[in-house]
């Protein structure tokens, strides 16, 4: 029997060896990966041991940690709901989102740039204080965007086209992050459930993580593709029927007024953009080919998650379409999906002579002793088109606002370039309304994109020009301090 017992003891040894190895794997080898898992709230608990840094706009805190009397020692306080899509929340029970998550290592003082502080903290026994993060947001513009959206569901992104700095980022409805920052788990969980169940989706970031059908704002990308291809100029013409039969189907595409696009027998690309006509765009889409359109869209950022430093959802230009689907995609229908950040980038590239700057929300990061830990410099994201192409697209967009169907974005004494969009979402579904553009067209200071979801409460009654363009105008006016 002892021979067998010896074998059994080997088996037991192997069983325990596997336990030793598994624990080492969890506690040492993969410990860092687990600590960063989205479900892990221990990291959040730990961060309450230090005073978490503030997030500042124009020198004023929009989020800060103040002393509290309970075991967590600090309470996170959010000042204004209009920043909810920017800051996100920081919760003991729900983890963190937005900048609270993206800038988490700085805010908790755990970033590697704070290494020496960490060492001295270890020696002195005083905890490292979190660094504060100053944003590029202009509070006046942010407020203008927040107010202009009113009660409508939607989002606004405003970018400085020369630097890529984000001047405003609003998603409506917002939420009160204080509801999730409470230290009572019961309250926090209940509030979180309420926010999740709210049918207006206050936790959604409509500015960068939700995707919408772009409708006619996509025509700006079409115009850029056409001119950049070298095959067309803005004055190239297409036949001008009232209907266009999608190849291989019995479906007809019509212009929004169900008539011709302008009165002539042919229509130029510039007029198609100015009057936002679908029939010529459908023809242009087929003529250009989906590959060329996709390549151009990707230069603008489609298909990429953009870190600004939060991470956007990648916009989609569908693959493997037939000709009919390609025709629909040319005016931003079928499965084309995007968000205001992406569309603001498109306008910004046109505004900045074809050079697209990387969007950025961070002005600088200051440690508790006020040394600069990070100060992002303007960075080129891509060059989606030549200067000449950009000039040509700009002229078309100016036409759309000054003489076309995007007229509600006009500002007194300022030349505005822009394009509206009214995307259909299927039979009976409310429209998605858009505007994207920039101002002043001759010396651009702001590129903006506005999306209004669920028809702005008007079902299929509203159009981009009636609902989205006025919002954009208010935002551009705020930047120009008009």
């Amino acid at each position: 029997m002892n021979r067998e017992l010896r074998r059994v003891s080997y088996v037991i040894f192997v069983m325990f060896l596997s336990l030793f190895i598994a624990t080492t794997g969890i506690q040492i080898i993969n410990a860092d990966a687990y600590s960063q898992d989205q479900h892990n709230v221990r990291t959040a608990y730990d961060s309450y041991k230090t005073q978490r840094g503030a997030i500042l706009v124009d020198g004023q805190p929009i989020v800060e940690s103040v002393k509290s009397d309970d075991i967590y020692r600090y309470q996170r306080v959010y000042k204004d709901e209009m920043y909810s899509s920017v800051t996100g929340f920081f919760s003991l029970y729900q983890g963190s989102t937005g900048l609270e998550s993206a800038m988490g290592s700085y805010l908790t003082g755990k970033n590697s740039s704070q290494f020496f502080e960490q060492i001295s903290a270890l020696l002195s026994g005083n905890p490292v204080q979190g660094a504060s993060v100053e944003l590029t947001i202009d509070p006046v513009v942010q407020k203008a965007a927040w107010d202009a959206l009113g009660k409508k569901k939607g989002a606004v992104v405003a970018i400085d086209p020369k630097t890529g700095n984000i001047l405003a980022m609003v998603s409506k409805p917002g939420f009160d992050a204080n509801l999730l920052a409470v230290h009572s788990g019961e309250e926090s969980n209940a509030n979180y459930q309420d926010l999740l169940n709210d049918k207006d989706g206050p936790l959604l970031n409509r500015a960068t993580t939700e995707l919408y059908a772009p409708g006619s704002v996509f025509k700006v990308i079409m115009a850029a593709t056409a001119v950049e291809s070298g095959l067309y100029t803005k004055d190239s013409t297409f036949p001008n029927p009232t209907k266009f039969q999608l190849p291989g189907t019995n479906v007809f595409v019509q212009n929004s007024g169900e008539g011709k696009c302008g009165g002539k027998g042919t229509v130029s690309i510039a007029d198609a953009l100015r009057l936002s006509c679908n029939v010529p765009m459908a023809q242009l889409g087929i003529a250009l080919s989906q590959e060329r359109i996709r390549a151009q869209a990707e230069l603008f950022g489609f298909g990429k998650k953009i870190k600004y430093p939060m991470t956007s959802t990648a916009s989609v230009y569908p693959e493997n379409m037939d000709e009919a689907q390609t025709a629909l995609s040319a005016f931003g229908q079928y499965d084309v999906r995007t968000n205001p950040l992406q569309m603001a980038m498109v306008s910004a590239a046109v505004a900045n002579q074809g050079v697209l700057m990387k969007p950025n929300l961070i002005e600088n990061v200051l440690s508790s002793n006020l040394s600069v830990l990070a100060q992002p410099q303007p960075e080129i994201f891509s060059q989606p088109m030549s200067q000449a192409t950009a000039q040509s697209v700009k002229e078309m967009m100016i036409g759309a606002v000054s003489r076309g169907v995007s007229g509600n974005a006009r500002i007194q004494d300022v030349l505005v370039a822009g394009k509206t969009g009214t995307a259909q979402n299927g039979k009976g579904q409310p429209y998605t309304l858009w505007f994207t553009g920039f101002a002043p067209a001759d010396n651009p200071q702001v590129a903006v994109a506005v999306v209004i979801a669920d028809g702005g409460g008007q079902g299929q009654g509203g159009v981009g020009n009636s609902l989205a363009a006025p919002v954009a105008r208010k935002v551009m006016e705020a930047v120009l301090r008009k």
Partner: protein, 454 residues
């Protein structure tokens, strides 16, 4: 010179029970360790020492001393390490449960486990003392082999009965009368080990030697395979009725290992494991519960499993806790183990791993390994076959249970509903494991055939 000297001296009959003196030293160390843990917890969480310290510290210490004195008079040659190891583990578990209670009170919780655990510790240690007193020799239990079988099966099946059976967290492993619940499977493992040992001692010859040889392997006759089939069916019945893979595996694994030790024939292990794995695989296809456990085991961090009811939330939180502990741990009272559901029972090892770190985990695993190896040592050196099998079986069942539970928490195997021996909150588990301690101590006393081993 030395040889000459010793040779010249008259042979001294050892009257001082050397084992007991070693045990006394180790117990002193164990008691000190428990005091240290409790003090650290109170200072860390309450920032002062309170009389509750003695409430958790003294009872196990006194009872360990009582058992020690009983051993001195009634089993002076019993193994000196088993009792101290059991005391350290039980004390560590108590400390952690008390620590979780303090954390729970600070967070406004009301469900406390410490008092219940200390009461059960006292009861369990008293029963262990009674075992040493009332089981006068290692052969005593052999008289009750078939009684043990009935008791074992009754205990095993009790939770499946209507009215008294209770399901907790999906597994039907408890019986309950009013507010009192009990996990009879824990006691069943002792009764069944006694039965297996007794049965196999009588049948080992026929099990070992009969059968035809095919391709160099001796294939057992059908009638010899009969009992294995019965146990296999019973294990699967446990799996189906009580919805717990761990319990089922524990009994079947125990039986297969004892058959192997008794007969020396690996064919039983091969056939047995094949049958069990086949049964478990079929069950995982048929029963959602089992396949869910597998899914959670393989992808615990997948949001689909994480958010599912009865999904991998607990497992993932336990792993986060362990990872939070890192090499040195947060120190007792410094972590946040209460984030893991059942941190005081099924997941106590994750709580300990968080606060004591990898070093603490290694220490705990080493203690279990040492405990098991002392038990196996009795098996190796005992002259009596029944005692050999019994000691080996009881040690193996502890080892296998550790493996299934700790392996479940650390994702070596799918998570199941067993308790960590001696550490976890739970009266039935404490009682059963202290009885095992008592039985092992009793058997170990007779290892030297009644004479001094040294």
């Amino acid at each position: 010179m030395t040889n000459l000297l010793t040779g010249a001296l008259p042979k001294i009959v050892r009257v001082i029970p050397r084992n007991r003196n070693i045990e006394a030293m180790l117990l002193l160390f164990a008691v000190g360790l428990n005091a240290f843990e409790l003090a650290q917890i109170q200072l860390s969480l309450l920032e002062k020492l309170t009389p509750e310290f003695f409430f958790y510290w003294l009872p196990p210490a006194i009872l360990a001393l009582v058992i020690h004195m009983i051993l001195r008079s009634r089993a002076s040659e019993a193994d000196p390490m088993i009792l101290p190891i059991a005391l350290v583990l039980n004390g560590l578990g108590l400390s952690m449960i008390y620590r979780l209670d303090l954390g729970s009170i600070a967070n406004g919780g009301t469900e406390l486990f410490g008092t219940r655990q200390i009461i059960w510790t006292v009861i369990a240690m008293a029963v262990a003392a009674a075992v040493i007193i009332y089981v006068p020799s290692h052969l005593f239990l052999r008289r009750y082999v078939y009684v043990s079988m009935f008791i074992g099966i009754a205990l095993l099946l009790a939770p499946s009965l209507p009215f008294i059976g209770r399901s907790i967290n999906g597994a039907r492993l408890w019986i309950g009368i009013g507010p009192l619940t009990f996990q009879p499977g824990e006691l069943a493992k002792i009764a069944l080990t006694v039965f297996f040992a007794g049965y196999l001692v009588t049948r080992r010859e026929s099990l070992a030697l009969t059968g035809r040889k095919v391709l160099g392997l001796r294939i057992p006759r059908a009638r010899e395979l009969g009992p294995i089939l019965v146990i296999w069916a019973a294990s699967l019945l446990v799996l189906v009725l009580q919805r717990d893979l761990g319990t089922s595996l524990l009994y079947f694994g125990l039986f297969i290992v004892l058959v192997f030790v008794a007969t020396g024939r690996s064919i039983y292990v091969i056939v047995g494991m094949t049958m069990f794995i086949t049964g478990a695989l079929v069950a995982s296809r048929v029963m959602d519960y089992v396949s869910g456990r597998f899914e959670s085991w393989l992808n615990p961090f997948d949001s689909k499993n994480y958010d599912a009811v009865g999904g991998s939330y607990q497992l993932a939180q336990g792993i986060f806790g362990l990872a939070h502990g890192n090499l040195l741990g947060t120190g007792l009272g410094g972590g946040i183990p209460h984030l893991v559901p059942l941190a005081e029972s099924d997941f106590i090892i994750a709580s300990l791993g968080e606060e004591l770190g990898l070093i603490g985990m290694f220490a705990i695993l080493a203690l279990y390994l040492l405990f098991v190896s002392r038990g196996l040592r009795i098996g190796f050196s005992h002259p009596d076959d029944f005692s050999k099998l019994l000691a080996a079986g009881l040690s193996f069942v502890i080892a296998l249970q550790c493996f299934i539970v700790i392996g479940g928490v650390t994702r070596v195997v799918p998570l199941t509903g067993l308790t960590t021996p001696l550490l976890a909150a739970g009266g039935s588990s404490l009682l059963a494991n202290w009885i095992i301690v008592g039985v092992l101590l009793r058997i170990s006393d007779s290892v030297g055939g009644g004479k001094n081993e040294s």
